[in-house]
């Protein structure tokens, strides 16, 4: 699942899409109008973000909306926090080793 989420984020268009959605629910057609590509192409990107648990789609009548999905966010944040701690501990220990003098 983490790989799916990172794969979703590893595309600049999808990151831009995501940045617009996190400030509030967006109408899909409004969003698509902001990109120099077809609605179909934007839809495909949204699907990837959806599968990654980063956005959730909602239909109200005939209008499609997308909103943030915190599931994917939580997953990435957990990984980032884990790796921050991983390196923080080890780089402190590296300091102890190099400052002892060799």
């Amino acid at each position: 699942m983490l790989d799916t989420t990172f794969h979703a984020l590893a595309d600049p268009t999808r990151r831009t899409l995501l940045s617009k959605v996190v400030v509030g629910r967006q109408r899909v057609t409004d969003l698509a109008a902001e990109f120099p590509m077809s609605l179909n192409a934007v839809s495909k990107h949204i699907q990837v973000l959806e599968r990654a648990g980063l956005v959730v789609r909602e239909r109200v009548g005939r209008t499609h909306f997308i909103d943030s999905d915190l599931t994917g966010f939580a997953e990435v944040q957990a990984w980032l926090s884990q790796m921050q701690r991983f390196w923080a501990i080890r780089l402190d220990q590296l300091g102890d080793v190099v400052e002892q003098g060799e």
Binding site: M1, L2, D3, F6, H7, L9, A10, D11, P12, R15, T16, L18, S19, V22, V23, S68, L70, F73, V76, Q77, W79, L80, S81, Q82, M83, Q84, F86, W87, A88, I89, R90, L91, D92, Q93, L94, G95, D96, V97, V98, E99, G101, E102
Partner: protein, 146 residues
């Protein structure tokens, strides 16, 4: 934060340190297996093995043991510029099959004083491009960083 940091640190882990040591000493500590074993361990894990081929394209293998299991890490060296830069791909159980990238830059501030900047990213394409960062997204979502 520092002029020697890689261009973009969005969606990445960044750590900066200043060590009272020569840049060559710090660089060697990153690649010499006997030295690596002395700092790469964790609160519950020990380094069982570390092997590295010190050249671009060279491979490294790191085996840690702890919590009743083994933690294999492996990767390939993408940048090797002694004594200023070492970068490699990084695969481990915690990356769940995704190849990530660790980039370490060393700067000699003065003799006996070295700055280290480490960036660990899971999104290789953000690496050199300006981008809205993960932290900023979370702020917009109203999520506090833990």
């Amino acid at each position: 934060m520092t002029t020697s940091a890689p261009e973009n640190t969005a969606y990445a882990v960044t750590q900066t340190r200043i060590y009272s040591a020569d840049i060559e000493t710090v660089f060697n500590a990153l690649i010499d297996p006997e030295t690596v074993k002395r700092w790469m361990y964790g609160p519950d894990t020990t380094v069982v093995d570390f092997v590295l081929q010190p050249e671009i394209g060279g491979r490294f293998f790191l085996l840690m043991r702890g919590q009743d299991r083994e933690w294999p890490h492996e990767g390939k060296i993408t940048h090797f510029e002694r004594p200023n830069r070492l970068a490699y791909t990084w695969l481990s159980p915690s990356t769940q099959g995704r190849e990530t990238h660790v980039d370490i830059t060393l700067t000699a501030i003065e003799v006996g004083k070295t700055e280290l900047v480490l960036v660990h990213t899971a999104l290789p394409d953000t690496y050199a491009a300006f981008d809205q960062g993960w932290a900023e997204l979370l702020v917009n979502l109203g999520v506090t960083l833990g």
